[in-house]
Symmetry: C2
Subunit: 408 residues, 2 copies
């Protein structure tokens, strides 16, 4: 909303102007100060002061001056600096933890993945912080500054309290993940590094939006298919999370009335048909509650018919879910990601696209654009890094209530 | 987005400031100039000039001065003027046309409803304009000024072209409704009155949001149940319509895979179970493609068991659809409206709420808030009037591409 800021709140005005300049610089890499002044509508002196601050803080870099042919000082191109600030992201999944470090320009600097050692919240958080610290140590060896850590959780986080409400696939209810991570980072001496929590699909969507080719697709719906199934939704450039933070839980929309039991307690949820556990069970790769990922991958690599059929059945259900996303959101793009997509490959996706095409043909409408996640299995971890940029460029988004900083 | 305006674009800045003042005045009825200046962050002289304009144009009214006890001039309370500007709205349904006139404060001044005389686009548009002119004549007898006409269509409008893409229940495809209405208004001498087109459920949602009690629920999903079934979605105070304008077509989301044939060509759409035609058919009140509304109402009034059972079955399906709206949008409120709701009453709604409660219980989550439309059967027509206010208070919304003005 363009309501003018309250008089006297200079810091707010300054932050909004900084944000505006950073956004312009991202759209117009290599722009000169004079053009930035013109585009921003700010005064030359305001732009000068802000640019000086942003250069000092590591956000911007000046390039070599261009020869314009005109008399006088040559304009110096400005751009986002990919070398001095580091964004950390993590994906705390029900079976694995992934961490990634990126520049503010979206360049992937390093990543790491390990199986989850324990589903105990304390131990899982400790493992995550250990991994984040290890990767941070690598990429900040020359003095680069950490801007923060964005963590994706596989469940719904109440954005008003910051508490993880329910993550059925890891078995957590009402877990204060943010407080735990904050304490561990403080102990490690990183009390100045803010932590943000967000749903895993939401972060993946933010990664596509902040680090994707410009202009980005909008609305964009990222459909994450793994043990859980969920969507991250970008509308008007910003993450949409609903009144309490659980918007996009399309894995728990009903696909089959009175259908199969879901981990959430309901019957007939999309996740009960598309979730990786259902697929592993159908492919004979579920032992108790444990997905035998290696066996599943080997069977798929070997072209095992029952395994391929299990993915194809899930793919057909995913096609119905995408038809519902299409009619509900009228998105510019649907992005698919998650380990089910990488495991299932064409066995899954061919069925998905065939079912979706059937709806499109019957409706006589142009098909929605569907594409694959840019960062593959690292989508959530990279999205966690991207979220730090998102929070800087959209400072008034309600999602920021999940920010954890050390009280002064 | 708070990007500063381009330098020199004084008109844009002025419009944004006007909008900010109108929004503040709506939230703080009876506010004094000094407080408005403080809250807005604008200078005293800017506020003075804008207030003077807004009073002259009929938006604002000054009340009697308060005695504050302090020495000096008594502050004069300012508020939205409900007497000098008139908003017109219309609902061009597949069977009936409804028109409504409201003040800018959301007071319903007059309304009228007639059966649709013809499904021919030219004749239907002529009937609508006749009705709108008649009601406008009544409410502008003392010189009140018409701000515009907002028209709800029961189909998807491409917001980039302004063309009605497809309205299955009236049988229109690629119809230029806007051009027709514009021509008819121009012929009637109303060439200065802008026309806006929008989907019927979208308008009903806007009516709930602009004319509802403040602070309004946000996100708000209005679920319109009539011959067609659709949703209007309000996010961050503004109408969300998707990339081309068809977001919220939840009546064409799949409720039953490989299910009943829908008017749109697909199989298993929600509308094929919840739409009024399906209900009328099950109740024995469909002759050919024609719903026998009077018979259906009489049977419901008489407590006819098959009719009640038909509404209850549809209500149960509606409960599944609301469960999906809930998980997908995490809304602050779901609002129900449309003629199916008024015809079906408790026979429909008890079944809906029972099914929804079943999902809520199984998921172990707090239930979503569900309430009935404030303006009942007039929701879309009143929403059309409210849309004129919405367009003024959210001038940068993409939905404005459906505005029809006479070229200068």
């Amino acid at each position: 909303m363009a309501t003018p800021p309250i008089k006297g709140d200079q810091q707010l005005v300054k932050n909004i102007n900084r944000m505006a300049l950073l956004r312009l610089l991202r759209e117009h890499n290599g722009i000169a100060r004079a053009d930035l002044t013109e585009l921003s509508g700010l005064t030359r002196s305001t732009v000068s002061v802000l640019i000086k601050d942003l250069i000092e803080e590591g956000w911007l870099v000046e390039g070599d001056a261009h020869a314009t042919g005109a008399i006088g000082r040559r304009p110096t191109p400005l751009g986002l600096d990919g070398t001095r600030l580091v964004l950390l992201g993590a994906d705390l999944g029900p079976d694995a933890i992934r961490v990634a470090a990126t520049s503010i320009r979206g360049e992937l600097l390093a990543s790491r993945q390990l199986a989850l050692r324990s589903k105990d919240p304390d131990r899982a958080c400790r493992q995550l912080v250990e991994m984040a610290l290890a990767i941070a140590g690598e990429v900040t060896a020359r003095g680069e500054r950490l801007l923060g850590l964005g963590v994706g959780l596989h469940g719904a986080i109440d954005k008003r309290s910051g508490v993880l409400e329910f993550a059925p696939n890891i078995g957590w209810r009402q877990v204060e993940v943010g407080r735990r991570l904050r304490g561990l980072l403080d102990t490690a001496g990183l009390d100045g590094v803010p932590v943000y929590l967000q749903n895993e699909a939401d972060l993946a969507a933010v990664g596509e939006s902040e680090f994707g080719d410009r202009p980005v697709d909008d609305p964009l719906v990222y459909v994450s298919c793994g043990v859980g199934v969920g969507a991250g939704i970008i509308l008007n450039e910003a993450l949409f999370t609903g009144v309490s933070g659980s918007a996009g839980e399309i894995g728990h929309s009903t696909l089959v009335i009175h259908g199969a039991a879901c981990s959430c307690g309901r019957l007939g949820c999309a996740e009960a048909y598309i979730g990786l556990k259902a697929i592993a069970a159908a492919a004979g790769c579920l032992q108790g509650a444990q997905i035998q990922r290696r066996a599943l991958r080997e069977r798929m690599d070997a072209g095992d018919k029952p395994a391929r059929a299990a993915f194809a059945r899930a793919g057909a259900s995913l096609g119905v879910l995408l038809q519902n996303v299409w009619t509900t959101f009228n998105p510019q793009a649907i992005v698919l990601g998650g380990e089910t997509v990488s495991l299932g490959g064409s066995a899954l996706l061919d069925a998905t696209m065939e079912v979706l095409a059937g709806y499109v043909t019957r409706a006589g409408m142009p098909p929605p654009a569907v594409r694959m996640a840019k960062y593959g299995d690292l989508a959530t971890a990279v999205g966690g890094a991207a979220y730090l940029l998102h929070a800087t460029l959209h400072p008034h988004q309600p999602a920021l209530h999940t920010r954890y900083v050390t009280p002064a």
